[in-house]
C-alpha cells in the first residue's frame, strides 16, 4: 500500500470520528442553550486541528507500523510514495468531493439570505467540508480497491 493510499484510509477514519464527536458536543449544547450563546468556535478550531494533525500523524504512524510489520516478516518496507495512478485517484476523489462542497455553498448562501445566526452558517460550512472530505476519501478507496 502506497503512502497516498494509507493517507486516504486514515482520512476515512479521522474525519467521521472527529465530525461525530464535534457535532455531538455542539448540538448537545445547542439543545439546551440559545444557539447565539453556544460556544462553538473553540470546539471547531480543535476539530479542524485534530483532523489535520490526525491525518498527518496517522499516516506517519501507519507507515512506521507497516514498516515494522514488514521487517518482522523479513520483507522490504513498503514505503512507496505513489505514482501517476495515485495522482489520478487523487483527482477522481477530489472531483467527487466537490459534490458536497457545492451543496454546502448553496446552503450557506440560503442561510445568509435567511439571516440566521452565524452558528448555523459556520456549522453548515464545516459539515459540508467534512462530508466533502469523507465522500472524496470513499471514492478514492473504491478506486484503489476496485479500480477505475
Amino acid at each position: 500500500m502506497s503512502v497516498s493510499e494509507r493517507s486516504v484510509w486514515v482520512q476515512l477514519i479521522v474525519m467521521p470520528v472527529v465530525g461525530i464527536v464535534y457535532f455531538s458536543v455542539v448540538l448537545t449544547r445547542a439543545a439546551s442553550t440559545p444557539v447565539a450563546d453556544v460556544s462553538w468556535i473553540a470546539p471547531m478550531i480543535w476539530a479542524m486541528s485534530i483532523v489535520v494533525v490526525g491525518i498527518i500523524a496517522g499516516t506517519i504512524a501507519s507507515a512506521i507500523g507497516s514498516a515494522i510489520a514488514q521487517a518482522a516478516q523479513g520483507n522490504e518496507p513498503d514505503l512507496e510514495e505513489g505514482d501517476v495512478r495515485d495522482k489520478e485517484i487523487e483527482r477522481i476523489g477530489n472531483l467527487k468531493g466537490q459534490f458536497f462542497t457545492g451543496i454546502g455553498t448553496v446552503a450557506v448562501i440560503v442561510l445568509c439570505m435567511l439571516r440566521v445566526d452565524v452558528f448555523w452558517i459556520a456549522n453548515a460550512m464545516f459539515l459540508a467540508g467534512l462530508l466533502s472530505g469523507i465522500h472524496g476519501a470513499i471514492a478514492k478507496v473504491i478506486a484503489y480497491r476496485r479500480g477505475f
Binding site: M1, S2, E5, E76, D78, E80, E81, G82, D83, V84, R85, D86, R145, R146, G147, F148
Partner: protein
C-alpha cells in the same frame, strides 16, 4: 464484481517468461509503484498509452502481445 476495464493483459505470463521477473522489478523499470503493476495485472487499472509502451519495451514485445482489447461484435 465487474472489472472497470475491458483491457486484458499478459503481463503475468510475460514476467514469468522473462526469468520470473518480480512485480517490484517491473515496477522499478517502468517507474511506477508495485501496487500499480498489481492493479494493471488484475485489470483494475488501465495504464496510459505511454505506460503501456514502457511495459511492452521492458519485455521487448509489441504492444498487442501485452495488452488486448475485445473486438466489438458487428452482428
Amino acid at each position: 464484481m465487474t472489472k472497470p476495464t475491458r483491457v486484458t493483459n499478459a503481463i503475468r505470463q510475460l514476467r514469468f517468461a522473462a526469468g520470473e521477473m518480480t512485480q517490484a522489478d517491473l515496477a522499478e523499470r517502468v517507474g511506477v509503484t508495485r501496487q500499480t503493476i498489481i492493479a494493471i495485472e488484475q485489470g483494475r487499472y488501465s495504464p496510459s498509452l505511454e505506460m503501456a509502451f514502457q511495459i511492452a519495451h521492458v519485455f521487448a514485445v509489441p504492444l498487442d502481445d501485452v495488452f488486448q482489447y475485445p473486438r466489438e461484435s458487428t452482428d
